[in-house]
């Protein structure tokens, strides 16, 4: 069977001396952009998922005072011209409750980014994040109304990692960021990387509201939660990204 096994093994080899792997990949990718490929259809609108489980670990977080995150500066300010290249992604279409209903809702998109320019990919459900992966937020608020944003992550242990606003001092109680008005594709100036989340499920939440929320108020609601997160914040629109954190 030795010789025959060898013959079978050869099935996995390229039978001829064709183009190199690099050449072949380049050919494929060129063909993908020569007009034969249709323009990407909009990604399906994200569903707002109201789900939340046990809050025991959140309570433990309060006991231990574990609220940590790392902030990585990306650009200097809340800039319409970020230093990372963010691909076009159909906005989620989350509308801040309490604001006037209109055809130009405030939208929030999340990206997995690094500090390196050009290194940002849309954050999608099912994504696996690793140490070094930060979360970058882009929003559009084409209306003139006031809209406020908070973004945090909940890890497998239900520890809260505040991404926006920054929460590095437990004696403080920062409030939601007020989004700029009548802007599109505005990028928050930092890539925020959760610090040492527990490996496993990592949920990222964006809360859009018509009035500012504060960190401790949100945490106290999470602490008491026996219901899905959106039910805890009836005046808030909640966006969720269901990811996983893989510790290296």
């Amino acid at each position: 069977m030795g010789r025959f096994a060898e013959e079978l093994r050869r099935l996995r080899e390229l039978p001829g001396a064709g183009p190199s792997a690099d050449e072949f990949v380049a050919r494929v990718m060129a063909s993908c952009t020569t007009g034969v490929a249709p323009a990407p259809e909009p990604t399906r609108p994200r569903r707002l998922i109201w789900r939340f489980g046990s809050v025991l670990a959140v309570a433990a977080m309060f006991v231990l005072g574990v609220v940590s995150m790392r902030k990585l500066r990306l650009t200097g300010t809340d800039s319409p011209a970020p230093s990372v290249a963010l691909p076009a992604v159909t906005p989620s279409g989350v509308t801040a409750r309490g604001g006037a209903s209109d055809a130009s809702p405030t939208t929030v998109q999340a990206f997995v980014g690094h500090a390196a320019p050009g290194a940002a990919l849309p954050l999608l459900d099912g994504a696996t994040l690793r140490p070094g992966d930060g979360i970058l937020i882009r929003y559009s608020n084409p209306s003139a109304r006031r809209v406020y944003l908070m973004v945090f992550a909940l890890d497998e242990q239900r520890t809260v990692h505040w991404l926006h606003p920054a929460y590095l001092d437990e004696s403080s109680n920062p409030t939601s960021l007020e989004l700029a008005r009548e802007v599109t594709d505005r990028v928050l100036p930092e890539v925020a990387e959760p610090e040492n989340p527990a490996p496993g499920a990592l949920r990222v939440y964006a809360l859009l509201s018509a009035t500012p929320l504060d960190v401790k108020g949100v945490e106290s609601r999470l602490d008491a939660a026996t219901r899905p997160i959106p039910e805890l914040f009836p005046q808030v629109e909640v966006e969720e990204w269901r990811c996983a954190w893989l510790a290296k």
Partner: protein, 196 residues
């Protein structure tokens, strides 16, 4: 801002470590780098598979390229279920069958020239060795019934498991196993007969 610290991580490395489904999700948003990583990951097996099916590495490369472009075009309809490889080879198999049907006659005429072109840059001893190795197994495969040839290639070229082969061929798993087994027996006989 209170704390600033920059950690840099090269993205290509991160992409290489991501799973097929995750890369397809990214590709569905138009992220070309993610799809390029997928193509790079699977190109060798797909090209080998198509070349074996078509009996010609140059034609196989063209078919493999069409296969990857088709997957790119349909990236938004891909349902991530951890079976990207089977999905990819299903697309490749269909492309190969169409190719064989459309150009059955033409292939026979151009095959010899194509092989010569493909190996023109290699030393002559290497070209002879490559040609012998390739043609020997291709002759054997060509003598298998199509279902058996497909099953053998999916098992040993694409390295799919029997459940994936069965799903792809639309047959029970036992049938897939049987096709691979019978195909191997016949291939072995053919190769042995050639040696003698």
């Amino acid at each position: 801002m209170r704390s600033v610290a920059v950690r840099r991580a090269p993205l290509p490395h991160a992409l290489d470590e991501r799973g097929d489904d995750e890369l397809m999700r990214l590709a569905a948003t138009g992220e070309r780098a993610a799809y390029e990583a997928l193509v790079r990951r699977h190109q060798e097996r797909v090209r080998a598979y198509c070349a074996r099916w078509c009996g010609n590495s140059l034609v196989g490369d063209d078919v493999a390229q069409e296969c990857f472009v088709e997957v790119w075009r349909r990236r938004e309809s891909y349902v991530p279920q951890g079976r990207f490889k089977a999905y990819l080879f299903h697309t490749a198999a269909n492309r190969c069958k169409n190719q064989r049907r459309a150009q059955a006659r033409e292939l026979a005429v151009t095959d010899a020239h194509a092989h010569a072109d493909a190996r023109a840059s290699a030393p002559i001893s290497e070209r002879i060795r490559l040609r012998e190795r390739s043609e020997r197994i291709e002759r054997g495969l060509a003598r298998l019934p199509e279902p058996q040839r497909e099953a053998v290639l999916l098992r040993y070229c694409a390295e799919l498991d029997y459940a994936e082969i069965a799903s792809l061929a639309g047959v029970p798993e036992a049938t897939a196993r049987s096709r691979v087994f019978l195909g191997l027996m016949k291939l072995r006989r053919v190769l042995r007969a050639e040696q003698e």
